[in-house]
Amino acid sequence: MSLFAVEDLALHFGGIRAVDGISFDVRDGEVFAIIGPNGAGKTTIFNLISRLYQPTSGRLIFRGQDITRRPPHVVASLGIARTFQNIELFANATLLQNLLIGRHSHVSASILSQILYTPAVRRAEIAHRGRAEEVIAFLGLERHRDRLIADLPYGIRKVVEIGRALCIDPRLLLLDEPSSGLNVEETQEIAAWIDEIRGTLGVTVIMVEHDMSLVSAVSDRVMALNYGRILALGTAAEVQRDPEVVRAYLGG
C-alpha cells in the first residue's frame, strides 16, 4: 500500500531543471533510498517534500492527502520528519531541548496557558519529556542528555538529529545522507538504527545516501537519479547493475 506518492514533480530555477518530472511512490513500512551523483537533485526532492521549496509543477500525496500547498510546519505535524545533510540542530540548546522541539507539533496548549504555566501545561510537558526520554533510551544518548549540542562530537550530533526527527512520532522519516562524515563503525550503527526504526517503530524511511554498502544493507528499493531525472528504480542489486546508472557514476 502506498504511504506517499510523488506525481510528476518538477522544480526549475530559471533555465535549470533541478528536478524534472519525477514520479515514484513509497510503500508503507519500506526503506526507500535515493542515490545519484552530486547535483542529481536528491536533496532538492527532500526540500520539496518538506515544503522548503515550492515545486514548479507536480503533486505530493501523503496518506491520500495532497500536501503540495501545505506550509512546512503543517507537513511536519502531518507526520513527515526529516534530518539535514549538514546537521541543522539548535547549537546553543541542550540535547534534551533539541529533542523536545521535535515534540512541537504535538503541543496543544494555548499561548496564554503556557504563560500562566497551568497544571495542564505542566502535565503535557512531563508527557513530552517522557517521550523524549524514550527516544534517548532508544538511541542510547543518556550520557549526553544535558550537554549543549555545540559541545558534542559530530557523530553524536548526527544521531541526535535522527532522535529529534523521531520525537515528531513520524509516519515518514526523510534521512538526508545519514552516514556522511561518519566512520565505518558509526555507519554500521546507523544501519542498525534504520532497521530498528522501520522494524520496531514501524516508520517508513526515505533516505538520500552515497554509501552503497549502507544502501544495500537497509533499503528495500533504490531510485537512482541524474540531472533531475530517474535513471532506474528497483532493488539495490538491480539498480547497481543498470547500465545507465553505471554510466552516470563512471562518467561515460
Binding site: 536533496t43 526540500n47 522548503l52 539535514f84 541543522e88
Partner: protein, 293 residues
C-alpha cells in the same frame, strides 16, 4: 519656466546631498561585502574625517588640496588599524555582536571628537566657498558642484582599483568566498583591514566634501543612518547601487522638504527604507542567497 527651474534646482541639491549619502553607503557596502560586518560607525568616520581636515586646513593652515589628501591618508591608516586591532578580535562571533561593537565604537568616536574638537560646529575655507555658478537661472553653488565632481572622481578611482589591480581583484574574490580566497593564497585578514582602510578613506572624503555645506560637528555621523536607506535601496551589495540609492534618497528628501510640512523631511529616508524592505526584504539588488540544506 520658473517651476521647471525650481524642480531642477531641487533635484540638483538633492543629488549633491545624495552623493554624500552614497559615499557613506559605499563604505557600508564595501565593508559588508568583504567582511559581512555592518559598520554602524561609518558616519562617525566621516565626522572624524571632517574634523581632521578642519585641523589640517583651518588650524595648521595647510593648502586645501594637501589637507584633503592628508586627511584621506590618515583616515585610511586609522581604518586599517581599527580592523587590525579591534575588529579582528571578534571574527567568528555572531553578526549581532559585531553590530554592537561598531555601535560602541561610534559612541567612542563621537565622545573623543567632542573632547578633542569640542561640541561647536566648525568649518574651514575651501577654494569653492561662496562661489556660485549660474546656468541660465539655475544656481549651483561651487560647493555642491565639488561634491558631484568629487564623488564621480572617487568612484572612477575605486572602479579602476577593483577591476584593474591585483589587490582589487583579490578583495573582490575574498568578498565572494572567504575560504576559497584563503586557499588561493589571498591574505584574507590583510584584505579585511585594507577594506576598512578604503571605507574609512571614502568616509573621510565624504566628510571633507560635506564640510563646507553642512559644517562639521560631533553629531554629523547620524547622517550615516540615512545612508543605510541608500545602501538598502542599492541592495547592500553593489557599489553603483549604493550611489544610485544615495542620490534617490537625497532627491526624495529634498522633494519632501519642499512639499511636506517642516520636520517630515528627516523621516522620508526611513519611510522609503521601510517601504523598500517590506516589498523586497533583501533589498532591490539582492545579495542574499538561500541557505542550502
Amino acid at each position: 519656466m520658473l517651476e521647471t527651474a525650481r524642480v531642477i534646482q531641487i533635484i540638483l541639491n538633492g543629488t549633491a546631498v545624495g552623493c554624500i549619502y552614497g559615499l557613506v553607503a559605499l563604505g557600508f557596502v564595501l565593508i559588508y561585502k568583504t567582511t559581512e560586518t555592518v559598520n554602524f560607525a561609518q558616519g562617525d568616520l566621516m565626522m572624524l574625517g571632517g574634523f581632521l581636515a578642519f585641523t589640517l586646513i583651518a588650524k595648521v593652515g595647510l593648502d586645501y588640496w594637501l589637507g584633503f589628501l592628508l586627511t584621506i591618508v590618515f583616515m585610511a591608516a586609522f581604518g586599517y588599524l581599527l580592523d587590525a586591532l579591534v575588529l579582528r578580535r571578534v571574527i567568528g562571533q555572531p553578526q549581532f555582536a559585531v553590530f554592537m561593537l561598531t555601535l560602541g565604537l561610534g559612541f567612542i568616536f563621537r565622545a573623543a571628537a567632542g573632547i578633542v574638537w569640542g561640541y561647536d560646529a566648525v568649518s574651514f575655507p575651501t577654494p569653492f566657498t561662496g562661489r556660485v555658478l549660474d546656468f541660465g537661472g539655475i544656481v549651483v553653488s561651487a560647493n555642491n558642484l565639488s561634491i558631484l565632481v568629487g564623488t564621480v572622481g572617487l568612484c572612477a578611482v575605486l572602479y579602476l582599483f577593483f577591476s584593474r589591480t591585483r589587490l582589487g581583484v583579490a578583495m573582490q574574490a575574498s568578498s565572494q568566498n572567504q575560504l576559497a580566497a584563503y586557499y588561493m593564497g589571498i591574505p584574507v585578514r590583510t584584505v579585511f583591514s585594507l577594506t576598512w582602510a578604503i571605507s574609512a578613506a571614502v568616509a573621510a572624503a565624504a566628510g571633507v566634501l560635506l564640510a563646507p555645506v553642512a559644517l562639521v560637528d560631533v553629531n554629523m555621523g547620524f547622517l550615516g543612518f540615512k545612508a543605510f536607506a541608500a545602501a538598502v535601496l542599492g541592495g547592500f551589495g553593489s557599489i553603483p547601487g549604493a550611489l544610485i540609492g544615495g542620490v534617490v534618497v537625497g532627491i526624495v528628501e529634498q522633494v519632501a522638504g519642499y512639499s511636506l510640512p517642516a520636520g517630515f523631511r528627516d523621516v522620508t529616508a526611513n519611510a522609503v527604507l521601510l517601504g523598500v524592505l517590506v516589498l523586497r526584504p533583501q533589498g532591490i539588488l539582492s545579495q542574499t542567497m538561500r541557505k542550502k540544506v
